[in-house]
Amino acid sequence: MDNLAEIRWHGRGGQGAKTAALLFGEAAMSLGQYIQAFPEYGPERMGAPVQSFNRISPEPITLHCGVTSPDIVVVLDPTLIATVDVFQGLNEGDSIIINTEKTSAAISEELNIKDKGINVYTVNASGISKEEIGRDIPNTPMLGALVKIYGKLDVEHVLVDMKSKLEKKFRHKPEVIEGNLKAIKRAYGEVKS
């Protein structure tokens, strides 16, 4: 299980944390990986903090317990940092990607975590989403940022896979497909440490 990566997504109900985990899992699977994608099920309300999870591995995954020490955490909504311990279970060498306009240095300073050895990455996914999709739906750009930080999936393949998924999902809204793909690509390029 040495090649196993565990990912935790933090979002608010309605932001697409579950969808992002499913899309990321499917994209990884289409590249030959074994995957798991599952949300945390509790009371489901728009705007309430929610989590979802991925496991990705080149070998079959038999773990069926919860993810408690993720390798990568993705935060769709920066306001969650004040109310949820998004760093829970992160150890030295692990990574966190935050949707924010701020730089990673500013975030590390603000949260006083500079000496923890956690790699902090930021990307303005909401800004990208507004520009490319026309609305603040940060999940697909954050997925692009995750592909970059995870580093083991070819982004061009991911885009091809994502296009076919989005074409199915948005049969009646083709205009959002191109925007989502651009947003993924931009966040992939713009995520910074």
Binding site: E26, S30, I35, F38, Y41, T62, L63, H64, C65, T68
Partner: protein, 395 residues
């Protein structure tokens, strides 16, 4: 790269619904209940899209769902339904009737605890509640096995003329998307063939009565037929597993033995926890500990002989139950396993753990601790009233 048509990402519920699409049953009668709802919901979509020829009966309760399935199966149809928890309990009055009438209904069941307190998450209390209802019971570890077991279930049920429930762990498997390798539609159709019941209620050439009053003079004999059928179903399951492995390359049996060849200590359990336990076994094996895992799949018919044989050479055995038997001394899997071992010359020292009630998570480390306790396990039982260790419960 994988074959995108056959290697798919599906949740446990989606995988079971996909199996139902390929089975294309004559009748599906279902009522929604978390976490099994999606199975019938997705299947209803297949009906609406014309992908199956099924008569979908939207009933007003699970009692009616099972009653409709019994009626349709008695009339000679290949019938299915799906449920969970309270739904299964509402069906429970009709379940033994389905088995006594020898109707091969196959039902995906998503394990969820039973109220109260009300809770939608996984344990095995629901299916254990109906373990003596005359239904075959198969507990799956993951979505792939759930898919395969539903397909195989049709074959087994029709040969054994007994109903079968195929269960997955609620949310843990039912709502977890994972890689599933599908069998092409045409191969499934060919594999299952047409359902040809021995006789059926609406057969004008051979008129029969089903469900008649059956008092002291014959009830026992007729009940005995269903009891015998359950014993005999073991051979059918064995044969169907071998056929499935030969045709589709995936091996199933009454139970799965993992690292058992030289194991001195093992865990016996059912469901998704076994996948997590495999990681614990791998970790401990790296430290040279001779540990193994036996994952029970088929709980009814209970494979007493095979299980006892596999377990008898162990020094110690932890039996992990995801349900409780309310002061029966130990929990269902432990009670039945120990009954199977009793009287054998060689048998392991055992200890029963109850874990994960109401969806309480269980980690690799906790399972490793169970192995470590069992590796040093020497003490005989002292408290014969209360022998169970309840894992992970706060005091």
């Amino acid at each position: 790269m994988v074959d995108k048509n056959l290697t798919v990402a599906k949740t446990g519920n989606e995988a079971m619904a996909e199996a139902m699409r390929q089975i294309n049953p004559d009748v599906v009668a279902a009522y929604p209940i978390t976490p099994a709802t999606e199975i019938a919901q997705i299947f209803a979509g297949f009906v609406a899209d014309g992908l199956v020829h099924t008569e979908f009966v939207r009933v007003e309760s699970e009692h009616s769902a099972m009653s409709a399935a019994v009626g349709a199966a008695a009339a000679g149809g290949r019938c299915m339904t799906a449920t969970s928890s309270q739904g299964l309990m509402l069906m429970s009055e009709i379940l033994p009737i389905a088995s006594a009438l020898r109707l091969p209904i196959v039902m995906p069941e998503v394990n969820r605890t039973i109220a109260g307190p009300i809770n939608i998450h996984c344990d095995h209390s629901d299916t254990m509640f109906v373990r003596d209802s005359g239904w075959m019971q198969v507990y799956c570890e993951d979505a792939q096995e759930a898919y395969d077991s539903v397909l195989m279930g049709i074959k087994i049920a029709e040969k054994a003329m007994l109903p079968m429930m195929v269960s997955t762990d609620g949310f843990i498997i039912s709502h977890c998307m994972a890689r599933v390798d599908l069998i092409p539609d045409e191969d499934v159709t060919k594999y299952l063939g047409q359902y040809k019941p021995e006789t059926w209620l609406l057969n004008p050439d051979k008129k029969i009565t089903l469900g008649g009053l059956d008092l002291q003079d014959y009830y026992f004999e007729h009940k005995m037929v269903a009891i015998d059928a359950m014993y005999k179903s073991k051979a059918i399951i064995k044969e169907c597993c071998e056929e499935f492995a030969g045709k589709f390359g995936r091996n199933y049996d009454f139970f799965e033995s993992y690292e058992m060849d030289d194991a001195e200590t093992a865990i016996l359990a059912m469901g998704s926890v076994c996948g997590t336990a495999k990681v614990a076994v791998d970790n401990l094996r790296k430290d040279g500990k001779k540990v193994g895992l036996v994952r029970m799949r088929v709980f009814r018919p209970f494979p007493a002989e095979e299980l006892a044989k596999t377990l008898s050479n162990l020094k110690t055995l932890a039996i992990m139950d995801r349900s409780d038997a309310m002061s029966a001394g130990e929990a269902p899997l432990a009670i039945e396993t120990k009954a199977a071992l009793y009287g054998r010359k060689k048998q392991p020292k055992t200890h029963n753990y109850v874990f994960g009630l109401g969806g309480r998570d269980i980690k690799v480390e906790e399972i490793e601790d169970v192995y470590k306790e069992m590796l040093d396990f020497t003490q005989p039982e002292k408290n014969f009233d209360r022998k169970v260790t309840y894992l992970g419960v706060r005091e």
